[in-house]
Symmetry: C2
């Protein structure tokens, strides 16, 4: 594992670094009173797509952070596929978003908090592309706390 080093600051792993960028997107959702989930797409160390949950603003239950980031990245690439790309998302993707990643032929999915109820991990068959590698639990607590805090504030 290589590390990005910023002079005297403590080294941070690339996955932590990019998950922090996804968290930044989640906070943009929070500021708009959306469920705070954020996503970015990274290709060869460069962020090529960003997105956050827009289900309320767009009044579209399918406007998930991942869908925004994936289509933004594909748009940027000007091509169809995201074969050398990694999706970083603060919450385990749902079946729809995992299914979308199949079509984009994504190389890797890295997510923060687990979603045992609606995450695609509950499906006992491979629904992502055969070559998509999955990593879960990166900055898990921070990612989970964002969503937990949001729903707690709603119940008040």
């Amino acid at each position: 594992m290589r590390y990005i080093n910023f002079g005297d600051e403590p080294a941070i792993s690339p996955d932590d670094f990019f998950m922090n960028e996804a968290i930044r997107e989640a906070k943009l959702a929070l500021a708009e009173d959306e469920i705070p989930i954020g996503a970015i797409v990274v290709c060869k160390g460069k962020i090529i797509g960003r997105g956050h949950n827009l289900t309320e603003r767009l009044n579209d239950v399918s406007a998930h952070a991942e869908m925004q980031a994936l289509t933004a990245a594909a748009n940027f690439m000007g091509g169809k596929y995201l074969q050398d790309c990694t999706l970083y998302v603060t919450m385990e993707p749902c079946v729809m978003c995992a299914g979308a990643s199949y079509w984009f032929q994504l190389s890797r999915i890295v997510f923060g908090a687990y979603d045992t109820k609606l995450g695609f991990g509950r499906i006992n068959q491979k629904i992502t592309h055969p070559k998509t590698v999955i990593t879960g639990g990166i900055l898990e607590n921070e990612c989970a706390e964002l969503v937990r805090g949001f729903f707690k504030s709603k119940r008040k």
Copy 2:
């Protein structure tokens, strides 16, 4: 099963009637040199959303007919959910589209041709909404022939 009757014409079942409308959408895709898959959303006997495959035109591998029709229908309803709605689509939906239908809380999915390789039926767990009823094989041959003919012409 109720039947729509047009005077002296032979009676046609509602499912056949609406699948013909989805086929009409598929033919619009074909005219644009897209893989000919079409979809409509019906609410209480009325078509409230239409869509066809736009993956080439939009250069977006996730621009499936179902996604177009579902978002168009939700837009028309001005609400989030499609609880009294049926999606008619010429081809068995993929995992992404079936996953999207979960979020829209769709009442029913009716599809034409089976897609044993990429259709959501290959998943042995329920990925649509718990109350979504599935019917497959409506005007199956006609729906399948459209796609078969398209790929046959491409191989020439």
